[in-house]
């Protein structure tokens, strides 16, 4: 039980990398990258977790009540926001690649050449 969270994080990273390497479509590849990233969510939230602690919001509970680590939660929030923006950027790149090359299969894409 002690190492389960870390194992899940490592597993998510591993299956994400496997998906990226064997991917046959760029959109699928971007999805696999998101799986890798969700490993970091598990890792960060796992680091901040504390048994028997509540959320780090002292609205219903008085300050001083045992609460999980707010720094880790803030980092996960950062992670999610930047991840969403990066996913949008990668999807835009995928759209442009499809317009110019007509395919999104990494196997069939050749290095970029100047237009003739």
């Amino acid at each position: 039980m002690n190492v389960l969270a870390w194992c899940v994080a490592a597993w998510l990273l591993g299956v994400g990398i496997y998906g990226i390497v064997t991917s046959r479509h760029y959109v699928h590849m971007i999805g696999c990258m998101t799986v890798c990233q969700s490993g970091t969510y598990v890792l960060l939230l796992g680091i901040g977790f504390r048994w028997g602690a509540g959320p780090p919001i002292f609205y219903d509970t008085p300050p001083g009540t045992s609460a999980v680590d707010p720094v880790m939660q803030a980092l996960v929030l950062t992670d999610i926001v930047v991840g969403a923006a990066m996913t949008a950027l990668l999807l835009a790149i995928a759209l442009q690649v499809h317009k110019r090359r007509g395919t999104l299969d990494p196997q069939h894409l050749r290095p970029l050449r100047p237009r003739e």
């Binding site: 039980m1 064997t22 780090p56 919001i57 001083g64 939660q73 923006a85």
Partner: protein
């Protein structure tokens, strides 16, 4: 490179990764007993010295506000890059209809869909603004609330269709909103410098605990982030939806698509 070679190269890499991960996992502190003094200190002190009840907001908008400014800049840069990549291929002007598959029947939109989308878009937008404004009090904040509010734009698209959507929402407005949010955050960080304080130092009156106004400068930073996120997501949605509209005869250079195929 064929799929076989990809897997053959992946296998040793994954073995190395597995060994390294096992080493790290065995060296990690026990699950559920954090050693972080940082988080414990924030939990203990922030309610007293900042009068806020949401510790995550306190970390994001006060303790590590400069970090969040960097993150905000990253968000705006990524959105700008996305817009640069998407815009220009189909022109700036609006057309009447969205792109449609030839031969597919157009069934129209049911009155129930239109009504529900109009109602829910309003409710969702207001709820997003609510979550932004209560960022320092209850769970939520600029990032989460901004994303909720921006999702109401999708409901407008669903209920009204492409042409009305483009009539109602303009990318110039979203770009201005996004820029205003980013600028407000940057000013909140810089203005204290002009008066001899540290950057982003909380110089405003702190307000009272559990109140809508609590946390002083955090309120402004939080609202600025919310505004910037609404603008960013609005721009993103608009530019991606623009890709679905029916191309007009001159505004797209698809000829290099056949070239590459």
């Amino acid at each position: 490179m064929t799929g076989y070679w990809r897997l053959a190269l992946l296998a040793p890499a994954l073995i190395v990764l597995a060994i390294a991960a096992a080493q790290v996992i065995l060296a990690m502190p026990a699950f559920g007993h954090p050693l972080s003094q940082y988080g414990t200190t924030v939990n203990a002190l922030a309610p007293m010295i900042r009068n806020v009840s949401n510790m995550v907001a306190a970390v994001n908008f006060d303790v590590r506000a400069i970090d969040t400014l960097g993150e905000e800049s990253m968000l705006i840069c990524a959105v700008t890059a996305t817009v640069v990549l998407l815009r220009g291929h189909r022109g700036e002007d609006m057309t009447e209809c969205a792109g449609r598959l030839a031969g597919r029947e157009w069934l129209g939109r049911s009155a129930a869909t239109v009504l529900m989308c109009r109602l829910m878009a309003t409710v969702v937008f207001l709820y997003g603004v609510f979550v932004v404004l209560h960022g320092t009090v209850t769970p939520g904040g600029g990032f989460q609330g901004g994303a909720i509010a921006a999702s109401s734009f999708i409901l407008i698209y669903l209920g009204e269709g492409y042409s009305v959507w483009r009539d109602v929402l303009h990318s110039e407005i979203f770009a201005a909103v996004e820029g205003f949010g980013g600028l407000a955050f940057a000013l909140a960080a810089m203005v204290p410098l002009a008066f001899g304080y540290a950057a982003d130092q909380n110089v405003l009156p702190l307000g009272s605990w559990k109140d809508l106004y609590s946390g002083g400068l955090m309120v402004i930073v939080n609202a600025a982030v919310g505004v910037a996120v609404i603008g960013s997501f609005g721009v993103l949605l608009l530019e991606f939806m623009e890709e679905t509209r029916a191309p007009k005869p001159g505004d797209e250079d698809d000829e290099d698509q056949e070239e590459g195929a």
